[in-house]
């Protein structure tokens, strides 16, 4: 049975590497650089409201920074236009916390929902994603543009980025 354990260990570490090279998206996405197809949207979730800093964003990598000002745990969902298919979700946003949801969005209409209390349909708002001109992969994939290089990139990080070169933008599961 240790052979099974070894296989599991190999599979697990392979998975970590795979995600490290395919699953990372740029954190450096201030609204000022929105023309490059990366934008940050601030969301404030309270007991009875779900306020978004903007209801339109350019296509590409979108980062929703969700702050919980209520007294209950909240979740934030981004749905497709039908309001059912999950595009992205971040959970465990306790009172006083702020967490990021990073998604890659094509142009179109989406539905954003805060779910204080972690149940029900939530408080919903439409979000319109406009065409930024940046090509966005069809499904389940990351932004194709490389994040801007920083001067003080940690060695491991740059190693991962380098190793991920040919794989960036590939879907994790075809």
């Amino acid at each position: 049975m240790p052979s099974a354990a070894r296989a599991a260990a190999a599979l697990g570490s392979g998975l970590v590497v795979l995600v490290a090279v395919t699953g990372c998206v740029s954190n450096a996405a201030p609204e000022a650089t929105s023309t490059t197809g990366a934008a940050r949207i601030a969301v404030t979730s309270s007991a009875d409201a779900c306020d978004l800093s903007t209801s339109t964003a350019p296509s590409g990598t979108l980062t929703f920074t969700v702050s919980n000002t209520g007294s209950d745990v909240t979740e934030f969902y981004l749905y497709a236009a039908d309001g059912k298919q999950v595009v992205g979700e971040v959970e465990n946003i306790g009172p006083g916390l702020s967490r990021d949801l990073v998604v890659t969005a094509k142009p179109g209409t989406y539905v954003a929902a805060c779910k204080p209390g972690m149940a029900g349909d939530g408080i919903r708002h439409d979000v319109t994603v406009t065409d930024s001109g940046t090509p966005v992969p069809t499904t389940g994939a990351r932004a194709s543009s490389r994040p801007p290089r920083r001067s003080a990139v940690p060695p491991v990080r740059s190693l991962l980025t380098a190793a991920g070169g040919p794989f960036r933008g590939e879907p994790l599961f075809a």
Binding site: L15, C24, G94, A141, R157, F173
Partner: protein, 285 residues
């Protein structure tokens, strides 16, 4: 603070209980020399989760939603495989105990250091990244001058660890056969919950279909933010809004695994006869 406390408790409980059971096994079987391997697995999982979480929170790159769900889902299913193997390892041990055949017992528990390390690693690492991201969000809130969320989360995780320790202390005095029989049944239910949770993660990531086909929704009577909702979720991964695929997979796992386990572990020993040789097919699915 209470809400963040409950999140910490929920995220830590299942891992703490599995590790508590694993420690109890090794101690009961006089395999204390494997304890360092177990703690190494736990330490690697905690360290890697915190480091990866910190890199994603404070570094130049974040993790996309699909990638995080895929990690959670796949690690969950790997964990179920390993825990299932552990359950049958236990069942065989319980059977050997009835025959009082010490050498066969030694064979059955002749499990490698690496296997113990990997089970502990996966049990803790499975939800480690999500917990680390939650904790680092608490650290960021502390940086903004509000330490309450981080303190609450840490207290919740602390209670989870204390309950894992209590599980170890409580089970260590049970009659040995009862100990294996009862903890095994408990582990089958935990593993089934992890499997169902992994299916839900993969459904959310769009890798498996049917995220909106709910088998039942009891979130009005079992609110996820209540203390009992927290315990049900934390121990058995019970989701008040369960999809059909989750429910079907849960039943398809529990029925055959529980049946096999009870048949092996709780079977009446044949008086005077040596225990039967082990069927080699009894392994993790």
């Amino acid at each position: 603070m209470l809400a963040n406390f409950l999140i910490g408790l929920r995220e830590g409980l299942e891992a703490a209980l599995v590790v508590g059971i694993l420690v109890a096994y090794l101690v009961r079987l006089n395999r204390r020399e494997l304890l360092p391997a177990l703690w190494t697995g736990v330490a690697i999982a905690v360290g890697a989760s915190l480091a990866f979480g910190a890199a994603l929170t404070f570094g130049p790159q974040g993790l996309s939603f699909e990638a995080q769900e895929a990690v959670g889902g796949i690690l969950s299913i790997l964990t179920v495989g390993l825990v299932t193997w552990m359950i049958f390892w236990m069942a065989r041990t319980a059977r050997h105990l009835k025959g009082d055949l010490q050498h066969e017992l030694d064979d059955a528990v002749g499990t490698g250091r690496r296997a113990v390390l990997v089970v502990a690693l996966l049990a803790v690492g499975r939800e480690g990244l999500e917990t680390a991201l939650f904790l680092w969000a608490g650290a960021q809130a502390t940086g903004r001058g509000s330490a309450g969320p981080l303190v609450g989360a840490a207290l919740g995780l602390g209670l989870a660890v204390a309950l894992g320790w209590a599980m170890y202390k409580g089970s260590i005095h049970l009659d040995l056969r009862k100990f294996f029989g009862v903890t095994g049944v408990f582990l089958v239910l935990i593993a089934a919950g992890v499997l169902s949770y992994g299916v839900h993660d993969l459904q959310e990531a769009g890798i498996l279909p049917g995220i909106n086909n709910l088998a039942f929704d009891v979130s009005s009577s079992v609110p996820p933010t209540s203390w009992y909702g927290t315990l049900l979720k934390g121990i058995f991964n019970f989701s008040p809004e369960t999809t059909w695929l989750q429910a079907v997979v849960w039943v398809l796992y529990v029925v055959p695994v529980m049946w096999s386990f009870v048949r092996i572990a709780w079977a009446k020993p044949r008086k005077g006869a040596p225990a039967r040789p082990q069927p080699s097919a009894v392994t993790a699915a």
